[in-house]
């Protein structure tokens, strides 16, 4: 089983920042349909700050990378996605403690802990039409990174017909049906970057 060092996580998050940056307008467009049209700029601001912080501080362990990234998201994003993605990465980072390298089972375990923390913090159930609908199947597909990316994409797609029960989209009631959840879309980008990072190894 492959082992992942701090560089792997750094590369992942930098690649994720690039993906979010490139797709920010699409994310904002999705959020415009059933939210408040800021998810793209929120995620761009946060992920660019993460990339900059990682560049500057060069944390030495996987856990430190994720903790720094999570803290940076909390301090720069705001909105719902800031605390949620921030919690995901911070809890995952904490779970990895200060090991130098994490094998893929540990990565899966850490991310699962992060996802559970998000679910608890946000009180969201499966099929509530949130980022969790992309994150959960992805984590379950690990340690197969390609399958995880695929699951995240399909999870995001699967939010389209759902009626939102959490987040701003829930205010729309029936009218939230027929649109992809922006947070699920950004989750698919993050997991997609993770899979590409793993493939590059």
């Amino acid at each position: 089983m492959a082992e992942r060092d701090a560089g792997f996580f750094r590369r992942w998050l930098i690649m994720a920042a690039e993906a979010v940056d490139a797709d920010a307008d699409r994310l904002t467009g999705l959020d415009s349909a059933i939210g408040d049209a800021d998810h793209g700029s929120n995620m761009r601001r946060g992920m660019l700050a993460v990339a900059a912080a990682l560049e500057k501080e060069q944390p030495a362990t996987p856990g430190a990378v994720l903790l720094l990234a999570g803290r940076t998201l909390v301090s720069t994003v705001g909105g719902a996605s800031g605390p949620l993605y921030g919690t995901l990465l911070r809890r995952a980072g904490k779970a990895l403690a200060d090991v130098e390298r994490a094998d893929d089972a540990a990565v899966r375990e850490a991310l699962a802990i992060g996802v559970d923390a998000v679910a608890q913090l946000a009180g969201a159930q499966p099929n509530d039409k949130t980022m969790l609908d992309a994150l959960r199947p992805a984590v379950e597909a690990l340690p197969d990174y390609a399958a995880a990316a695929d699951a995240a994409s399909r999870g995001a797609e699967a939010t389209v017909p759902l009626r939102a029960r959490k987040g701003r989209a829930s205010y729309l009631g029936e009218r939230s049906v027929g649109h992809m959840d922006p947070g699920a879309a950004s989750s698919a980008l993050l997991i997609g970057a993770l899979a590409r990072t793993a493939a590059d190894e």
Binding site: A37, D38, S75, G78, G79, G82, K166, S170
Partner: protein, 330 residues
Amino acid sequence: MKMLINGAERVIADALRGMAEAHPELVVDVDNRVIVRRDAPVAGKVGLVSGGGSGHEPLHGGFVGPGMLDAACPGEVFTSPVPDQMVRAAAAVDSGAGVLFIVKNYTGDVLNFDMAAELAEEEGIQVAKVLVRDDVAVTDSLFTAGRRGTGATLFVEKLAGAAPEEGAPLDRVTEVARKVADCSRSFGVALGAPTTPAKGSPTFDLPLDELELGIGIHGEPGRERRATMTAAEIAEAAVDAVVEDLRPSDPVLVLVNGMGATPLLELYGFGGEVARVLRERRVAVARTLVGNYVTSLDMAGCSITLCEVDEELLRLWDAPVSTPGLRWGR
């Protein structure tokens, strides 16, 4: 869509710089995005902190001053601020008497303020929180995000803001804030969508002969789209939605609120219809405030908020307030 800006990413910083120029009575920390009354912390006084996404001005920054908020934390446009801002604000206004966070009920605001409260308490600041969730267009249920916080925020900030001036301690101020939040309901209508700097075009399309009922203050579409209605019909729909939920027996404060781009001329006309409908529904009006107070950038439309008041709350409403956005009595 054209905007009077220097670029989407500079909007908040530029606005804060402008606030600093116009309001020497406030300390505006542009880098850290905190607006604090200059004389804070006021010895012995409970501190009131609020904040939320920008784009709702004068809420919240324009409500900082004697008799209302001690500090406000502006987020990006329609985006909750981050915990760092709130902790900094709490530290700036805490005199030792504790701090009340006034939080509009949105997932983002709630999560960020919760994190901030934890951090502030770690720093030894006593923190209480009140949630504003007044929008009757949203079904209130345990399985959803719950009702949005909209126009009632003004009432909570004003009435709770007046309590410390009467010497009320943190638990009493919190009680007042809860009571106001509990006694307030809102309903909003959009005639057109706002344009956010990030998107650069209206957040939804609304044909010339339609309007949205049950909108929030973040450019989200409403619960229902309808063929154009007269001001009288809109007033009936809005008042009925609020009154059926609130069922007030005491007199009410009325906020006839513009969403940003509706002329004051129209807003007053609408306010007249609201007064008529309230009379017909036998709801007594104690005070009426008409204007753009809880806005949604350049959204065309309006909302009404009713707050049922007893003598104490009415006294707190009439108490002096001196902020950029709301000022009377001194």
